[in-house]
Amino acid sequence: MEILMAFVCGFLFMAAIYLILSRSLLRIIIGTGLLSHGAHLLILTMGSFKGSAPPVLSEGVTDYVDPVPQALILTAIVISFGVTAFFLVLAYRAYQELKTDDMTLMKGSEDHE
C-alpha cells in the first residue's frame, strides 16, 4: 500500500506544480491546495500504515498506528489553511486593485530600481 501511495503523492505533486506554473492566480492557489494534500498524505505514508487501531486508548488493544505523523499533519493542515485563506484574500484584493489575475502581467514596471 505504501508503494502505491508513493505514486499517488508523486501524482498529486505533479498536478500541483503544473497548476502553480499557470498564469491565473486562482489556479495557482488551487495548485497550492493540491500541494498541501500531497504533502500531508506523504507524511502519513512515510509514517507507515502499520497497526490496525486508531491511536485512542481502548481496552485490550496494543496495535495502534503511529500517532506522531498524525499530530504533525494536524498542525500542518491548520497552518496551510491559514496560509491558503490569506492567499485567497490577497488574490481577491489584488484583483480588486489591479483588475487582473494574470501573473504574466504582474511584473512591475520595466525599469524599477
Binding site: V8, F11, A15, T45, P54, V56, V68, T75, F86, Y95
Partner: protein, 802 residues
C-alpha cells in the same frame, strides 16, 4: 607601547581638525597639522643611531590575541627609512599645501583629515610585522587615497580617477590578502619576521608560488607596475600636494616596500626573480616611453613615476638573484638592493620637488598644458632652478643624486647577464639593453619637462593668469628637496651608511647580518667603466633625440588609440560588467514568477534525483508494506480523477469543486488509515476552504479565453513531471530504507500514566509537543489579522493615509 601609538597619532590628530577649521578661521588649518609630521620626524630620527648600527626595535599592542593579530611597530633599516620619508616629506607637503590651498575657498578640514589618515595608514604599512594589520593599513592607504583623489568631488574627472585607482588598488589588495593567508597557513604565523626564519621550509610548499604571485599582484597594483599603472595618470586629478606626497613619494612605494620586505622569503623562487625584475624593467621602459607623449605637466610626472618605480622594482628583482649566487658579497650582484634603496631616496627627493614645481606652475599660470607654457624662466627663476635640479637628477646627470643611483642601476643590470641560472645567460643580455633605452627616454622627458615649460617663447595670451613667481612659503618645500638632491650627491656615503645599508640588511639578510658588512662605497667617479660609457651614450643620444623631438613624436600616433590598457579597463568596468552582465542577468531575471518557479523546481528535481542516483540511494523494497485493499484502490481512483479534473477543468467552478472532491477524498483516506482526528479536521477545513474559494470565485475573473483550455506547454509539463517523479522516488527510497524505529512506543506507553489522556494524538498536540500548537494558533491569529487588515485598511489614493 608609545612606539605603536605613534602610528596612530596622525589619525587621532585628525579628529581635532574640523574644530580648528571651524573655530580658528583666521589661521590656516595646515599650521596645526604641520606639528604632527614634525613631531613624528623628530621622534623617528632618534632611532637613527641605533638602527644604523644594525639593531632593531619592536613594540607590540595586542589587538585580537586569540587569533594572533596585533599591532606591531617593528623598526629596522627598511621601515625606519620609510617612516622618515613618510613623516619628512609629509611635513614638507603640509607646509606646501598651506600656501597651495586657499583657506577661504577649500574645505580644508576634509583635506587634512584624509591626509592625516593616510599618514597613519602608511606608517602602519611600513612598520607592521603582523600581516593582517599590514593588510588593514594597506587598505586604509587605498581608501584615503580614494578620498584625496576625489577631493574636488564636483569634478567628473576626479571621481573617475578616484574610482579607477580604488578598483585597481583594492582589487590588488584583496589578492594580496589571499597571499598573506596562504603564507600564514604554511608558516602557522602572521609575523613576517618568523616567516623569514622558516623561508627554506616554506619554499618546498605546493602553494608557495601561488602565495608569491598573489602578494606580487598586490605590490604591482599599488606601485603602478605594468599593466596596472593605468590608475596613476588618472590620479593626477588630485590636488598637487597629494600627487607629490601619495603618488610620487610614499603610497606608490608601498608596493616597493612590500617586495623589499618579502624578498628574504621569496628570493628562493625563480618565479619571483623573473616576475619582479622582468615586470619592473618592462614598466621602466613603458613608462619612460609614454612620458614623452604627454602634454600635461603632471601627466609627464605620472608616467615618469611609473617608470622610476619600475626601475626600483627591477633592481629589487635583481637583488633576489644574489640569493642564488655563491659569495655574492664579492660580486657585482650586491649592488642591486643598495641601488634600489638609494634610488628610492633620490626619487622621493627629486620627484617630490618636481611635483611641487608643477603645482606652482599650475597655480601661477592657471594651466598645466605644456603646449601653452614656455619662457617662464625669466618670470619664475627660483622655480626654474628647482625644476632644473630635479629634472637633471631624474635624467641621471652629475652633480645630482640621480646620477649616482643611475650608475649603480646600470652596474646591477650589467651584472644580470653574467648570471648563469634560470636562463639568464640568454635573456639576461636584454636587461642592460632595455635599461639603457629606457634611460635615454628618461633623459628626453626630463629635458622635455623642464625646457618646454621654462624656455622658449612665452605665450602670454594663451595663459589664463598673468604668471609671476610663487610666494616664498610655496617655494620652501621644493627648495629644501632640491638642496637635498645636490647634498646627497656630495655626501652620498653619509646617507648610505645611515639609511641605505641598514635597509639593505633588511632586504638581504641572507648576505649580511650587519650594516658594516655591506661593502659598498659610493663614488661619483669610479674610472672608465662600462657604466660611464653607457651614461655618456645616454646623454649624447638623448640630446640628439630631444633636439629632433618634433620630427619623431609622430610615431606615437601610430599606436592604435583603441588598443590601450585604459580602453581595456573601461571595457571591463563599463562595457563588460555594466552592460553585458546587466544583459545577462536580464535574460533570466524576467520578473515573471512562473520563470523563477520553473528554475527552482527544475533545480530541486535535478539536484535530488541526481544525488539519489550518484549516491546510489534509490531502492525499492516491498518488505514491511501493508497489503492493498480494493476499497483503497477505489479511493485512489477517485482521487486521481478529481485531481485530473482540477487541472484540466474548463471553468473555475469545476476546478474548485474538483479540489473540494480531492480534499474530501483525502479525509476518507484519513478515515481508512486510522486517523480520526485528521479526518475530522480535514473535513471541516476542506468545507471552509471550498466556501472561501467560492467567495473569492465570485469576485475573481473568469478563466480567460486563452486559458479556457490550459494550453499544453511542454516545459511546464516537463517540470511538473520531474517534480512528481522526484517525490515518488524519494518516497519509495525513504520507505524502503528505514533504519531507526519510531519513537511512538514511548507515547503509546505513557499517554495515560504520565499525561492522563486517552487520545494519543491530542495529548501529543497539547502536552508532549504543546509548543507546536501554541505557534500554530499564532499563525492562525496572524492570518486572521492580516486578512482583516487587507480588507479593511486602504491607503487612500491621494493622501497616502490609512
Amino acid at each position: 607601547m608609545f612606539q605603536v601609538l605613534c602610528i596612530f597619532i596622525p589619525i587621532l590628530a585628525a579628529l581635532f581638525m574640523p574644530f580648528f577649521f571651524k573655530k580658528v578661521r583666521s589661521i590656516h588649518t595646515g599650521w596645526f597639522v604641520l606639528i604632527v609630521p614634525l613631531f613624528l620626524v623628530t621622534f623617528y630620527a632618534t632611532f637613527v643611531p641605533l638602527i644604523s648600527k644594525g639593531e632593531t626595535v619592536i613594540a607590540q599592542l595586542d589587538w585580537i590575541p586569540s587569533l594572533g593579530i596585533s599591532f606591531v611597530s617593528y623598526l629596522d633599516g627598511l621601515s625606519l627609512l620609510f617612516s622618515l620619508l613618510i613623516s619628512g616629506i609629509g611635513a614638507l607637503v603640509v607646509l606646501y599645501s598651506i600656501y597651495y590651498l586657499d583657506r577661504t575657498v577649500e574645505q580644508l578640514h576634509n583635506f587634512y583629515i584624509y591626509l592625516l589618515m593616510f599618514m597613519t595608514a602608511m606608517l602602519g604599512v611600513v612598520q607592521s610585522d603582523n600581516m593582517i594589520t599590514l593588510y588593514l593599513f594597506w587598505e586604509l592607504t587605498s581608501i584615503s587615497s580614494f578620498l584625496l583623489i576625489g577631493y574636488w568631488f564636483n569634478r567628473d574627472k576626479s571621481r573617475f580617477g578616484a574610482l579607477k585607482s580604488t578598483i585597481i588598488t583594492v582589487g590588488g589588495g584583496m589578492l594580496m590578502l589571499g597571499g598573506f593567508v596562504l603564507l600564514s597557513i604554511m608558516g602557522e604565523t602572521f609575523s613576517i619576521r618568523e616567516l623569514i626564519e622558516q623561508a627554506p621550509e616554506l619554499a618546498t610548499n605546493d602553494t608557495f608560488v601561488i602565495a608569491l604571485i598573489l602578494i606580487l599582484l598586490g605590490a604591482f597594483t599599488k606601485s603602478a607596475q605594468f599593466p596596472f599603472y593605468i590608475w596613476l595618470p588618472d590620479a593626477m586629478e588630485a590636488p598637487t600636494p597629494v600627487s607629490a606626497y601619495l603618488h610620487s613619494a610614499t603610497m606608490v612605494k608601498a608596493g616597493i616596500y612590500l617586495v623589499a620586505r618579502f624578498t628574504p622569503i621569496f628570493a628562493l623562487s625563480e618565479v619571483w626573480v623573473w616576475l619582479v625584475a622582468g615586470i619592473g624593467l618592462l614598466t621602466l621602459f613603458w613608462g619612460s616611453f609614454f612620458a614623452v607623449k604627454q602634454t600635461d605637466l603632471k601627466g609627464i610626472l605620472a608616467f615618469s613615476t611609473v617608470s622610476q618605480l619600475g626601475l626600483i622594482m627591477s633592481l629589487l628583482g635583481v637583488s633576489a638573484i644574489a640569493y642564488h649566487v655563491n659569495g655574492a658579497q664579492d660580486t657585482v650582484f650586491k649592488y642591486a638592493a643598495f641601488a634600489a634603496i638609494f634610488h628610492l631616496i633620490n626619487h622621493a627627493t627629486f620627484k617630490g620637488s618636481l611635483f611641487m614645481i608643477a603645482g606652482i606652475v599650475d597655480h601661477e599660470t592657471g594651466t598645466r598644458d605644456i603646449r601653452k607654457l614656455g619662457g617662464l624662466m625669466g618670470l619664475m627663476p627660483i622655480s626654474f632652478t628647482v625644476a632644473l635640479i630635479g629634472s637633471f637628477s631624474m635624467a641621471g646627470l652629475p652633480p645630482f643624486n640621480g646620477f649616482l643611483s643611475k650608475e649603480m642601476f646600470l652596474t646591477a643590470m650589467l651584472s644580470v647577464a653574467e648570471f648563469d641560472l634560470f636562463n639568464f645567460t640568454t635573456w639576461g643580455v636584454l636587461f642592460p639593453i632595455i635599461a639603457w633605452i629606457a634611460s635615454v627616454f628618461t633623459f628626453i622627458y626630463s629635458f622635455y619637462f623642464v625646457f618646454r615649460t621654462f624656455t622658449g617663447k612665452i605665450k602670454l595670451e594663451a595663459l589664463p593668469k598673468k604668471p609671476h613667481e610663487a610666494p616664498v612659503g610655496m617655494l620652501i618645500s621644493p627648495v629644501i628637496l632640491a638642496s637635498l638632491v645636490i647634498a646627497i650627491f656630495f655626501i652620498p656615503n653619509v646617507i648610505a651608511d645611515t639609511f641605505v645599508k641598514p635597509a639593505v640588511v633588511a632586504i638581504q639578510p641572507f648576505l649580511y647580518t650587519n650594516p658594516e658588512q655591506v661593502d659598498i662605497h659610493v663614488s661619483a667617479w669610479h674610472g672608465f667603466t662600462p657604466e660611464l660609457f653607457m651614461t655618456l651614450g645616454i646623454i649624447v643620444v638623448g640630446l640628439v633625440l630631444f633636439m629632433i623631438l618634433a620630427k619623431w613624436q609622430k610615431i606615437y600616433d601610430a599606436f592604435p588609440a583603441k588598443l590601450t590598457l585604459n580602453n581595456l579597463y573601461d571595457f571591463i568596468v563599463y562595457e563588460f560588467s555594466d552592460k553585458w552582465m546587466n544583459r545577462l542577468s536580464k535574460t533570466y531575471m524576467t520578473g515573471s514568477i512562473r520563470g523563477y518557479l520553473s528554475y527552482m523546481f527544475t533545480g530541486i528535481a535535478i539536484i535530488v534525483i541526481g544525488t539519489l542516483f550518484i549516491k546510489d540511494g534509490f531502492k525499492v523494497s516491498f518488505l514491511g508494506a501493508s497489503p492493498i485493499r480494493p476499497s483503497q484502490v477505489l479511493l485512489i481512483l477517485v482521487l486521481v480523477i478529481g485531481t485530473i479534473t482540477t487541472v484540466f477543468a474548463k471553468s473555475r467552478i469545476t476546478s474548485i469543486v474538483a479540489l473540494g472532491a480531492v480534499g474530501y477524498t483525502v479525509s476518507l483516506f484519513f478515515v481508512m488509515f486510522n486517523a480520526p482526528d485528521l479526518a475530522l479536521t480535514q473535513l471541516v477545513i476542506e468545507t471552509i476552504s471550498v466556501a472561501l474559494f467560492l467567495l473569492a470565485f465570485y469576485h475573481l475573473p473568469k478563466f480567460r479565453k486563452a486559458e479556457e483550455r490550459t494550453r499544453f506547454r511542454f516545459g511546464r509539463a516537463f517540470v511538473s513531471i520531474a517534480v512528481g517523479v522526484m517525490v515518488t522516488l524519494v518516497a519509495l527510497s525513504a520507505h524502503s530504507q528505514k533504519y531507526i524505529e519510531s519513537i511512538a512506543q514511548y507515547y503509546k506507553d505513557t499517554v495515560y500514566t504520565l499525561a492522563g489522556g486517552g487520545n494519543i494524538v491530542n495529548v501529543i498536540l497539547v502536552d508532549y509537543r504543546g509548543f507546536d500548537t501554541l505557534f500554530e494558533i499564532t499563525v492562525l491569529a496572524i492570518a486572521g489579522m492580516a486578512i482583516y487588515g487587507m480588507i479593511k485598511l486602504r491607503m487612500s489614493k491621494k493622501g497616502g493615509k490609512l
